[in-house]
């Protein structure tokens, strides 16, 4: 299927989101769509699939101008959008999810289970994945759930599949499976629109790349004829320089120690130390127990045992509140669920972790609150209309900066970062790296969990690799590379 979108305009409440945006898709290609958050990638695809209506412009599919009124019409035409937030019902089985709303049934609406089972098995075979159709959706990994979404697309005989950040929550090996499936779909003549922030993946997987900036079409390149620097420049309209800003910090003494941390069935014998001003990168496959270890340090993992010491003294970390009082900060992996109250203002979100600081005998001081929040907005360069701006309306990068501000004001001695740049665009990523460097420069011990290996390698003074609930090993900055990390992460040994 060939698609051509030209001169697309779209405004929301007077704010133009797309201005003369365009996009072209050829038969059987994998086409990356890139741009910073807010550049209009998702909006453009939502216009294509009839989620939004366009204000101006034309969409031509296989030579004919079309307007899909809703996603169902686009789906009938063979265009399926797999959203970043997967559209699955966790309490239903794989089979029930796949046939939701289009059950095969006989008279009186009685479901034909046999026919459905046959169809599910056929499609999963085509995809080459082994998942029992009778399993409950919530027992599947995110990677497997994504496969089910793709299977759903194949069920309606999709000719174009749009994937929005499909690998954001996938492990390395799940990503490989996904790539294999995507490539085999391409061989079958299906075109893929691939929206992602991950440059490495795009260069590995895609044939062409189209870049949007501020709602405008910037250009299209063949992957084989471009490079990352050019793509970044097209995305942000200027040279960004080094992706990982330099840090020149003298490491201090060990100020943070974890001793014999255990949680039956999740992780065992976790021991490590972090020095003042050090960034300890924590790598490992998804499900290795990295997040759980951090949650346990922060007092949010019932059933775990062990000691946590700050400046040589054992601290009380029974609850997150206790851990905070002892000087630990925690920027969680999922800022939308755990990090922010999305409906609330920047001000209330920053204040909630700092209520003691801005109050006297439990009564809030409006002025010191406003001062603190304005300082945070200024220092972290949060782009917003002011302290009252609702966090849900900020871009991913700015949301993450609010979370950083919230924790910086608690004056942590140790700051745990879990996937600090997930869903954040290139420009904002660099700003966040600078914030991290700045904190390290002030002597904060930083523990950074990340699934992006380039980020781990670019930012860490030392890398700790977690494998199936055990510490697989430590690698110093000088010796660290992707191969060594992956070896340790998959249970191998390296010489050091």
């Amino acid at each position: 299927m060939q698609i051509e979108m030209r001169g697309i305009n779209k405004s929301f409440g007077g704010n133009p989101v797309l201005r003369d945006a365009g996009f072209e898709l050829a038969d059987g290609e994998i086409h990356a769509l890139m741009g910073e958050n807010g550049a209009g990638k998702s909006t453009l695809m939502k216009i294509l699939t009839g989620v939004y209506t366009r204000d101006a412009g034309t969409v031509i599919v296989d030579g004919q101008e079309v307007v899909y009124k809703n996603p169902q019409e686009a789906e009938k035409a063979g265009i399926v959008f797999i959203h970043q937030e997967l559209n699955v019902l966790f309490d239903l089985t794989v089979e029930e999810n796949m046939f939701l709303g289009k059950e095969i049934h006989g008279k009186f609406g009685i479901c034909d289970k046999k026919a459905m089972r046959k169809e599910v098995t056929r499609i999963l075979d085509v995809l080459g994945v082994k998942i029992d159709p009778a399993r409950k959706m919530d027992t599947l990994s995110i990677g497997q759930q994504q496969m089910i979404e793709i299977a759903k697309a194949l069920m309606v005989d999709a000719k174009v599949i749009i994937m929005d950040e499909p690998t954001a929550a996938l492990t390395e090996s799940e990503t490989e499976v996904l790539f294999k499936v995507v490539r085999s779909l391409k061989e079958k003549g299906v075109s893929i629109v691939y929206i992602s922030h991950r440059m490495e993946e795009i260069f590995e997987l895609c044939d062409r790349i189209t870049i949007l900036r501020d709602g405008q079409y910037v250009g299209t390149r063949n992957i084989s004829e471009t490079n990352m620097a050019e793509v970044v420049k097209m995305m942000i309209g200027r040279e960004i320089g080094e992706r990982y800003p330099e840090r020149d910090v003298k490491l201090g003494d060990v100020i943070f120690e974890v001793k014999d941390l255990n949680c039956p069935g999740v992780f065992e014998n976790v021991n490590f130390t972090v020095r003042a001003g050090e960034v300890l990168g924590v790598a490992g496959l998804m499900g290795a127990g990295r997040t759980e270890i951090m949650q346990s340090i922060f007092g949010n993992m019932p059933g775990s045992t062990g000691k946590v010491l700050i400046e040589g003294k054992e601290i009380n970390n029974k609850t997150p509140g206790d851990a905070m009082k002892s000087g630990i900060g925690f920027i969680t992996e999922d800022r939308k669920v755990e990090g922010l109250m999305l409906e609330e203002s920047i001000m209330k979100n920053i204040s909630v972790a700092n209520l003691k600081k801005i109050s006297h005998n439990g009564v809030l001081n409006a002025k010191s609150e406003l001062d603190m929040v304005q300082k945070g907005i200024k220092e972290l360069n949060i782009r917003c209309t002011g302290p009252k701006h609702a966090c849900g309306e900020l871009s991913g990068g700015n949301q993450q900066k609010v979370v950083f501000a919230k924790w910086i004001f608690t004056d942590p001695k140790v700051l745990i970062l879990d996937e600090p740049t997930r869903g954040v665009d290139v420009g904002a990523k660099k700003e966040i790296y600078s914030i991290i460097n700045d904190l390290a420069g002030r002597g904060v011990a930083i523990i950074m969990v990340s699934s992006e290996l380039p980020e781990i390698l670019g930012m860490s003074d030392r890398v700790m690799v977690v494998h199936e609930g055990h510490i697989g090993g430590f690698i110093s900055k000088e010796k660290a590379d992707q191969e060594k990390i992956m070896t340790l992460a998959t249970g191998g040994k390296i010489d050091e």
């Binding site: 949010n300 109250m341 609330e344 209330k348 909630v352 608690t410």
Partner: protein, 311 residues
């Protein structure tokens, strides 16, 4: 200010506009309604529901609900009446009633947090249990003959500078709630708990303690409401307060507070309470039968809540 902002403001003030319209319309129809005396008694009546609705607002802001308020009211007034009859000074008996009410709310809070019950179910249990205990304790009969304590009479029937005391108390309690919810760390914790409990917990908010405190406040307010009733009726009845939770919840909803927690203001509840009171009082004065009154109330609530939905 653009059109959208104006619309938002109008919707923010929707309940207030509805209240003003209701008062104007009923005033035009009925000369009896538009007297100072009637307005005073209207606000005095509304205070009974008002105290409960203020406590309910706190609970709903944390993302919960408290169905037990009517039963807490009945049981605490029963205790208070029997204490006084047993010879205890009225002041102490009333203070005890407030403490017991707080303890009852605390119990609901424990069931919700430590017992991990859904707030609806937890307070359905306490509602049923407290009502049953009230019946057992009073053997199904009212307790009257409470003597002539000045304090007991004053709290419901007294007045200061010509203003009924319940009205003064109502406005004072309203001011305290407004202050606590808007200006204190505890208020922030209530909103944070209802807005995103996971995020609040990870930001160091003790959400269990916050929720328990909200239910305790609700229990205390139900007991306070009961004391006003006890004073006005001069007797405790086993069926007192039945269905009061519904008027309180309706007032909170009318005031624009989100039933899923995190959003809403006590000022809204204040207006909601007055709307319910104006409806009750106005429809009575207009001679509308109580059968029709319920239907009219339902329609007004429906319109108010529909117009307050998210844009």
């Amino acid at each position: 200010m653009n059109k959208k902002d104006i619309m938002a403001k109008v919707q923010d003030l929707g309940a207030l506009i509805a209240l003003v319209l209701l008062v104007i319309v009923i005033s035009i129809i009925s000369p009896q309604f538009r007297t100072i005396d009637n307005f005073m008694s209207l606000v005095r009546q509304s205070s009974i529901n008002g105290f409960i609705a203020f406590g309910m607002t706190c609970v709903i802001l944390t993302g919960g609900i408290d169905l037990s308020v009517g039963s807490v009211l009945a049981l605490t007034t029963a205790f208070c009446a029997s204490f006084i009859k047993g010879g205890m000074p009225a002041g102490i008996a009333m203070l005890l009633a407030l403490i017991i009410g707080t303890a009852f709310g605390f119990l609901s809070g424990i069931l919700v947090t430590k017992g991990r019950l859904q707030p609806f179910i937890a307070t359905l249990i306490t509602m049923t249990a407290f009502r049953g205990i009230t019946m057992i304790f009073m053997n199904g009969k009212p307790i009257s003959g409470l003597g002539g304590s000045f304090l007991l009479k004053f709290i419901g029937k007294g007045s200061l500078f010509g203003i009924p005391f319940p009205v003064i108390l109502f406005i004072a309690v309203f001011a305290i709630f407004m202050f606590v919810l808007e200006k204190t760390t505890f208020g922030r914790r209530i909103y944070a708990t209802g807005s995103n409990a996971v995020s609040a917990k990870l930001a160091g908010v003790n959400i269990d303690r916050t929720k328990i405190a909200a239910y305790a406040i609700s229990g205390c307010m139900a007991a306070l409401s009961g004391l006003i009733l006890l004073s006005r009726l001069s007797s405790a009845q086993p069926t007192l307060g039945e269905g009061y939770e519904m008027d309180a919840i309706a007032s909170v909803a009318l005031g624009g507070t989100s039933m899923s927690g995190g959003r809403g203001r006590i000022q809204g509840t204040f207006v909601g309470v007055l709307i319910i009171a104006v409806l009750n009082n106005g429809l009575n004065i207009l001679g509308v039968s109580s059968y029709y009154q319920s239907v009219v109330k339902a329609i007004v609530i429906l319109i108010a809540v529909l117009s307050d939905r998210k844009r």
